[in-house]
Structures are given as structure tokens and as C-alpha cells.
Symmetry: C2
Subunit: 253 residues, 2 copies
DNA sequence: CGGGCCGTTGACACAAATCAATGTCCGTGG
DNA sequence: CCACGGACATTGATTTGTGTCAACGGCCCG
């Protein structure tokens, strides 16, 4: 009966229900959220550092990065968000942006007012729980990035990142070659791994020996287990094959 | 009238109210949480990797680290938690531990059953909000750690860490020298910054020229602004001087 | 007294940064 | 239609920051 005002909110709901259990009624509340789509070009902040934000952004399409800088202007991407992710969901509870958000390729983003999210989160504990949980998964990825940048050499770092993205894109990894689009330049890869673009280039050259090709923003991996090995990759932290959970017992339907 | 069953839960409440606004009634719910204190020795996991946890840990005293590893056994500390922190609050919503928790020095930890936390979080939206917010502050720190490890050299990394800890300990920074206890070995510092213990040692030697001394687990900084400069430190992300917030309008007292 | 843990130091190796130039592709405007 | 500029990729030569290996010293505690 009640339909999504925006066709895309279904994907927002899908994201939440992939890890959390929501009742019909709760699902409808999500689908009824107001939202409006925004297009954003590559390399243009759509959330600026220090800004006070009043809406959360849901990535409908494209790749979004969370950008930080050091004093010398060295850029560091602290998170990548693919279609289906909610890069700044945390802003619902912590509205001052401490990082900028920027699309790496052109992207479409759905803006959902904090007001509306807060309102249903307050009324439906299970929704609050689902949102909180979603934030925590991003946080676990963040922790693994610290490990990646802190304790792996360039080859492993890049491999690890490629593995992570393949998994997050839910690419089929049973048949070779594993292929997927990754709209990142070598400079982006450098910003994400804490390396120099030049060095990324050299590492990618070396990785070709191991059956990893990146051409025209398409990654192709001929030997997945090998890359997993090189990247020291264990997908557990992504919480992808985890059964959805619900903690809030008092479900209201 | 209602008193805390454990004297220490007051500090747990203080932590939450430092960033969130809770009504009297909500505060009482927090103070009434069941909890029991646990002592933990240094270098001994009190939460193990992969473990299914059924309680959250609140640090009453001591320094706790969140430890991760790469395949070669290289250790990386992905978070440090001081007295007043809740290292694995996220486990309420995501109970499988993806990192180990370990005290760096001996520590006292309060264990609070998930059950109890979930129950009040479901009944009091503002409590859920406060818990969620607390998690997000940790997450912002994590993001800055990625920047630290990814885009700063050894000298800056260590300086940045020292600045961060000074702020989190709320050490007085108006008078020189800035001094505080930091129960970390040089190996711990290395694990936190993605460096080698040997190199940490050299950097610390060099930092002495800049008026930074660490002796007997006590840090002494004779020129705070200088260290801030070296460490490229901007405390904004710590959300320390932020006014407490409440989003949930429907306060029930 | 002896054994660990921790800090310290030196010589050397090596991964990655830096500097600089060239190549390729592609869209745009003359 | 071609010339040009810009973004991105590629490569080589060289430097530099950090890791590695190894040894030694201080200190505490059993």
C-alpha cells in the first residue's frame, strides 16, 4: 500500500536489512523517509570539512571517498563508499563533518534529512539499532585500514584494497578471472593506501606478473586465492556473510 | 534515592553525559546497570579475536589497546582506550570481536552485560543515541589514525599520538611543562604508529631536542605548541570541547 | 646472583619517496 | 580536421626514511 516516494529508498532499506532484522512496519518507515537525489561530479566535495550537515548521504551510484589531509597537503582517503553505502550516517548523531566527502567518479547520492531519520530512530528502537550497526561495520573496516596502512608493504596494501573492494562489490569470486569496475585513478589508490602515485604505478606493474590487471577502471584478477595471499586478506571484518541480527526484542509491527 | 550498585558506574555515566544529554530518569537507568569489575594484567587478552562477547567493557583504570595483526605477526594497535573509555561498546550491536583487547599496563575493567544495555537502549532512545554517539567518536579517532599512519613520517606520527593522548587525558596544557603518565613501552608506541621499536627509540631521542622527554612512563613536553606543530595536530576530531547533544526530542523523565 | 624486559646504539639493507621527463588518450576549440 | 591542453599513466635515476640485524646496558624482581 505504502510505496517508496523515491524508488531508490528500497536500496537503502536493503542495505539495512542485509545486517539487521526489521519488521514490516519498520521497513515501511524507512521507505517513507523523505529524500532527494543529488548528482555530484568527480573531485568535488559534496560535504566539506568542518561543515555542519543536516542530512545523511546514501550512495545510489558511483564511488565516494572520505578525504582527510595532513598539514603538507598530503591527502589520505580514510574510507571508500560504494553504491549502497551510507558514508556519513554517523552525522545523524555527530553532525560536524571531520572529513570531506567527494566522489571519485561522478556519483548519485540520496540526501535524507537528519530530522526524519532521528524521528523514526527515536520511535523505533530496532531502526536505531540497524543504523548504529551500519556505522559500526564501517568502523571495523576503518580499523582494518589502520592495519593495512600501518603494517603491510605497498604490494600487500594494494592487494588488500583490491580484495576488499571485490568483496564489497559482491563480485563472483568462484570463476576466473574475477573482474569488476573500480573507478579509481592510480592517484586515488595512492591516497587510499598512503603511498605515492608513482609507487602505486610500479606496484601495479609488478602485480601484473601475478595476474592482476587494471585497465580502463576495470580490475581483472586471474588468480584470486593468490591475491588474497599477497594481500593478507581475511574478509571477516566486512561482516558480509553474517546473518542479520536484531537485538531489540520488543518488535512492534 | 537510587544509588549506583557499583560506585564506578558514575564514571560510565559521566562519560556518556560529557557528549550527550540524558534526563534524570535515563541517568538512573545507566547507574542501575549491573556490572562487575575485573582486573586484567598487562599483555593478556581479555577479549580474544573472533570471540563472541556478551558484555561491554568499561575502562575504570589503566590503558587498554585494541590489537590487530597481519599474517607475519606484525602487531598493530588500532585504538587506545584510557580510563573512562568503552573499548568495545560496539559489541552491543556487533558481538563478534574482530580485534583483541589487551591492557598495556594492568587495568581494571567493568563488564556490563549486553542484555542490560540492550534493554535500556530499547526503552530509552536517548540512551541508544548516547551509546551510538560514543561509538562514533571512537570511529573519528580511528579515521585520524589512518591519516597518521598513512601520511605522516615517524616524527610526526609519534608527536601526533602524544598530543592526542595529552588531550584525551585532559592534561592541563596552559603551563609548561605539559606532563602526564602514559603506560606504554616503546614497543607499544611502535605498534600504535606502525613503526619498529628501534625506530621509535631513535625518534624519541631526536624529540628530546625538541623538549619531549619520556621517562618511567611519564611524558613531559616543555613546548606544547611546538609539539602540536611537529605532530600536525588539530584536536577537533576528538570532540572534547563539544557541547553535549541530544537529538531525541521525546525525553521521558 | 641471574634472567627478563626494556631501552639504546651502530652498521647496513632496502622499500618507498622524490624529481624529472615522456607517453597516451581524449575532449575541445580553432 | 588538426592542434592543443589536461588528466592520467609510465619510466629512470637518485635520495631518504625506516627496517633489519646484532649487540650491549640498565633495571627490576625472583
Amino acid at each position: 500500500m505504502v510505496q517508496a516516494q523515491q524508488p531508490n529508498l528500497q536500496r537503502f532499506l536493503d542495505r539495512l536489512t542485509s545486517r539487521s532484522i526489521l519488521s514490516e512496519r519498520e521497513q515501511r518507515e524507512i521507505l517513507d523517509l523523505p529524500a532527494h537525489a543529488v548528482h555530484t561530479r568527480a573531485n568535488e566535495d559534496f560535504v566539506r570539512l568542518g561543515e555542519q550537515v543536516d542530512h545523511a548521504s546514501f550512495v545510489v551510484e558511483g564511488l565516494v571517498g572520505r578525504f582527510d589531509q595532513n598539514a603538507n597537503g598530503g591527502r589520505q582517503i580514510t574510507a571508500l563508499h560504494i553504491a549502497g553505502d551510507i558514508p556519513d550516517l554517523f552525522s545523524v548523531v555527530q553532525p560536524t563533518a571531520t572529513s570531506a566527502l567527494q566522489a571519485l567518479s561522478s556519483a548519485t547520492v540520496l540526501r535524507i534529512p537528519h530530522e526524519a531519520i532521528r524521528s523514526i530512530a527515536a520511535r523505533w528502537p530496532a531502526i536505531a539499532e540497524a543504523l548504529w550497526r551500519d556505522c559500526m561495520v564501517d568502523s571495523m573496516i576503518l580499523a582494518q585500514w589502520v592495519v593495512n596502512v600501518g603494517r603491510r608493504d605497498a604490494r600487500s596494501r594494494i592487494s588488500h584494497l583490491l580484495c576488499e573492494m571485490a568483496c564489497r562489490y559482491k563480485v563472483d569470486r568462484t570463476s576466473a578471472p574475477v573482474m569488476f569496475d573500480l573507478p579509481m585513478t592510480q592517484t586515488h589508490l595512492a591516497d587510499a593506501t598512503g603511498l605515492t602515485p608513482v609507487h602505486v604505478n610500479r606496484v601495479l606493474r609488478a602485480l601484473r606478473e601475478d595476474g592482476v590487471e587494471i585497465r580502463h577502471r576495470t580490475v581483472s584478477i586471474s588468480d584470486w586465492p593468490k591475491l588474497v595471499e599477497i594481500g593478507d586478506f581475511d574478509p571477516g571484518y566486512l561482516q558480509i556473510d553474517t546473518r542479520p541480527e536484531r537485538i531489540t526484542l520488543r518488535s512492534a509491527t
